[in-house]
C-alpha cells in the first residue's frame, strides 16, 4: 500500500485496489485501530483531568474509569467506521451505487487516515491546554458537569474540536474517490454521497463547539 498515493492521489490509490466483492480489510482495520488508539490516548488524558475534579471517594476508582474511557474511545472509533460506511453505503444506494458493503467498509477505513493526523494535532492542543490549568477537587458532584462545560468551552478546547474537521474534509476527499471506485458512482454522485453526511457532521460539530 502506498500511503502517499492514498493521501495525495487517492484516485491512483483506489484504481484497481478494490478487487472483487470482498477486498482485504487488514489495512483499513489497521488505520481504524490507529485512529482508535490515538483517540483512546487523548481520552485517557482528558479523563485524568476530569478525575482530578472528582471527590476523593470517587477518585479512588480513577484507574477503572480511565480504562473505561480508553475502551469507549477505542470502540467508538470502530463504531464510527461502521457508521460512516453504513451512511455512505445507504446514500450511494440512493444514487444508484452498486457493490458489496465490505467495499464501502474498506473505503471508509482507508479514508480515516487523515483523521488520525487531525486527532493527533487535536490531542497536542488539548495536552498543552490542560497542562496549563490547575484542577482542584469539586466537592459537589453536581457541579462536575458545569465545570466540564466551562472547561470545554475555552478557546483552546474549541480549537481542538474544530481543527480535526479540516482533516475530516481531507478524509472526505479520499472517500469521494474511494466511493467512485467501490460503488461505481459518478463524480457528482460520489460528491453527494460523501459531501452531504460530512457537511452535516461538520455543521453539527461546529455548532456544538461554538454554540
Amino acid at each position: 500500500m502506498n500511503i502517499t498515493d492514498l493521501l495525495f492521489r487517492p484516485a491512483v490509490f483506489f484504481s484497481g485496489r478494490l478487487e472483487g466483492d470482498k477486498p482485504g480489510l487488514k489495512m483499513p482495520i489497521a488505520i481504524v485501530l490507529l485512529y482508535g488508539i490515538v483517540g483512546a490516548v487523548s481520552a485517557v488524558y482528558v479523563s485524568s483531568v476530569t478525575m482530578a475534579m472528582m471527590p476523593s471517594e470517587i477518585a479512588s476508582m480513577g484507574t477503572i474509569l480511565l480504562g473505561i474511557g480508553a475502551v469507549v474511545a477505542f470502540i467508538g472509533a470502530l463504531l464510527i467506521w461502521f457508521i460512516v460506511a453504513a451512511v455512505f453505503h445507504g446514500v450511494s444506494a440512493l444514487r444508484g451505487g452498486k457493490g458489496d458493503f465490505q467495499r464501502t467498509l474498506a473505503v471508509a477505513g482507508y479514508g480515516s487516515l487523515p483523521m488520525v493526523f487531525g486527532t493527533i494535532i487535536s490531542s497536542i492542543i488539548v495536552y498543552f491546554y490542560l497542562s496549563g490549568i490547575t484542577v482542584s477537587p469539586v466537592s459537589d458532584p453536581m457541579q462536575i458537569n458545569v465545570v466540564l462545560t466551562e472547561l470545554m468551552s475555552s478557546p483552546s478546547m474549541v480549537m481542538a474540536g474544530i481543527i480535526p474537521l479540516v482533516f475530516v474534509i481531507w478524509s472526505a476527499n479520499i472517500w469521494v474517490f474511494g466511493m467512485q471506485e467501490a460503488r461505481g458512482l459518478s463524480t457528482k454522485d460520489a460528491l453527494i454521497t460523501v459531501g452531504i453526511p460530512v457537511l452535516i457532521y461538520c455543521l453539527i460539530t461546529l455548532f456544538s463547539q461554538i454554540g
Binding site: R9, V135, S139, S156, I169, W170
Partner: protein
C-alpha cells in the same frame, strides 16, 4: 454665867441657822432660774452621721421666765465623739425673758455605729447649771447601687444601654447624688448623671449609653453628700463579649459562582434570620478574592427580620484558589457595624495558571495559524488529488 453661856449657845445656834438657811435660800433661787431656762430645740446636721462625718449640733435655749438669766459658759462634752466649738461660748452673757439663744457645736463621728449622748452643759452665772443630753446617731450604711438594665451580651464597639439604680436605705436624706462612669475600657455618651437629693427609702435610676472595647468591668462611681460630707460608692457591670441573641443574623442561600470572562460572578440570596433589623447591608468578597467591577460591592440596604434579598458580586482570584470569603457588612439602629463571612468553595476549578493565562489568551491566535496551515495543506492536497486524477 449661865446667861452668858446661854447667849453663846444662842449665838452659835444663830450662826449655824444662818449657815443653814443661806444655802437653802440660794438653792431655791437656782431652782427658780433653772425653771426659767429650757432646751426648746435641737437640730443635728446631718441627721445621721456616717463614720468620719463632721456635722453640727444646734441647741436652742429659751428663757421662759420674767427675769434675765446670766450665762457664764456653754459646752458640749462627749467621751466618744469629737466636739469642737466650745471656745465660742466661753462668755455668753444673759438671755432676756422670752428670748432664745442658739448654741452650735461641731462634732465628728469617729466611732463605731451607734447612738451617742453628748452632754450639753450650760453654766449659769448666778446659780447652778443646765444639763441636756443630745442623742446623736452614727450609722455608716451607704447608698445601695444596683444594675437594673443591661444587654444580654456585649459586643466590642457596639453601643448598648446600661441602667443604674441608686437607693437610699438610710434614715436621713442624702443630696448631691451624681453617677459618674469611670472610663475603663468603655465609652459613654453621658459624662455623668445628676440625680440630686434622695429621701430615705427612695430610689432613682439613670441610663447610660455605653460602648465597650475591652472585657473589663464597667465601673460607675456614685458621689453623694451626707450633710457636708462627701461619700462615694461604686458599682461594676461585668463585661463579657458575646452574641446578642436579638441581633440581626445574615444567612446566605442559593449561592452560585460562575465564570464571566476574566472574572467570576457570585450570586445568591441573603436572609435576615435575626430578630432585629439589619441596616445598610452590603455584600462583597473577601480573602483570596479581589473585588472587581462592575459589582465590587452589592448594596442591599435594610433587611427586616425574615426578609431576604438577592445579590451579585464580581471578583477575580489567583490561580489555584480553592475557596473565597463572602462578607456581609451591616449596621444596627445605633450605627454599630457588624460583619459576617462565610467561605465559598470554588467549584469552577479549571483555572489557567498565572504563567499561562496570558498564553491562553494568545493561544487562539496560534491555533488560528495552525488551523490556517492545516486548511491550506488540506486544500492543497485536495487540489493536487483532483489535478492528478
Amino acid at each position: 454665867m449661865i446667861y452668858l453661856k446661854n447667849q453663846h449657845i444662842l449665838f452659835v445656834f444663830c450662826i449655824l441657822l444662818g449657815l443653814c438657811i443661806a444655802p437653802a435660800a440660794a438653792a431655791d433661787a437656782a431652782t427658780i432660774i433653772e425653771g426659767q431656762l429650757g432646751v426648746t430645740d435641737v437640730s443635728i446636721d446631718p441627721g445621721v452621721f456616717m463614720y468620719g462625718d463632721s456635722g453640727t449640733v444646734k441647741i436652742t435655749v429659751t428663757n421662759t421666765g420674767t427675769t434675765p438669766v446670766a450665762i457664764s459658759r456653754a459646752k458640749l462634752t462627749s467621751s466618744e465623739l469629737a466636739v469642737f466649738g466650745d471656745e465660742n461660748y466661753g462668755s455668753v452673757g444673759s438671755i432676756g425673758p422670752g428670748n432664745s439663744l442658739q448654741f452650735t457645736f461641731t462634732i465628728r463621728a469617729t466611732t463605731a455605729d451607734g447612738i451617742y449622748y453628748p452632754l450639753f452643759y450650760l453654766d449659769l452665772r448666778d446659780a447652778s447649771s443646765l444639763r441636756y443630753r443630745v442623742p446623736v446617731k452614727v450609722e455608716s450604711t451607704g447608698l445601695s447601687v444596683s444594675v437594673t438594665g443591661r444587654p444580654d451580651a456585649f459586643t466590642s464597639g457596639k453601643k448598648e444601654s446600661v441602667t443604674i439604680m441608686v437607693g437610699n436605705p438610710r434614715e436621713n436624706a442624702v443630696n448631691g447624688v451624681v453617677i459618674t462612669p469611670a472610663a475603663n475600657g468603655f465609652e459613654t455618651t453621658e459624662s455623668s448623671h445628676f440625680i440630686g437629693a434622695l429621701k430615705p427609702d427612695e430610689a432613682a435610676d439613670a441610663t447610660f449609653s455605653v460602648t465597650p472595647y475591652a472585657e473589663t468591668p464597667m465601673e460607675f462611681i456614685i458621689h453623694y453628700r451626707n450633710g457636708m460630707n462627701t461619700h462615694e460608692v461604686s458599682a461594676a457591670v461585668p463585661v463579657t463579649f458575646g452574641i446578642d441573641r436579638k441581633q440581626a443574623e445574615t444567612v446566605f442561600n442559593n449561592i452560585l459562582v460562575a465564570r464571566e470572562g476574566d472574572h467570576y460572578i457570585i450570586t445568591g440570596d441573603i436572609t435576615n434570620a435575626g430578630l432585629a433589623d439589619a441596616k445598610s447591608v452590603v455584600v462583597t468578597t473577601g480573602a483570596l478574592a479581589t473585588p472587581v467591577d462592575p459589582y465590587r460591592s452589592y448594596v442591599i440596604g435594610a433587611l427586616e427580620p425574615d426578609d431576604f434579598s438577592g445579590f451579585e458580586a464580581t471578583f477575580s482570584v489567583e490561580t489555584g484558589t480553592k475557596e473565597i470569603a463572602l462578607i456581609t457588612n451591616y449596621k444596627d439602629k445605633d450605627g454599630n457595624l457588624y460583619s459576617d463571612q462565610i467561605s465559598v468553595p470554588l467549584f469552577f476549578t479549571a483555572l489557567p495558571d498565572g504563567n499561562s493565562s496570558g498564553a491562553d489568551e494568545g493561544m487562539p491566535i496560534v491555533y488560528i495559524v495552525i488551523f490556517i496551515i492545516c486548511a491550506a495543506v488540506v486544500a492543497g492536497v485536495i487540489y493536487y488529488s483532483w489535478k492528478k486524477k
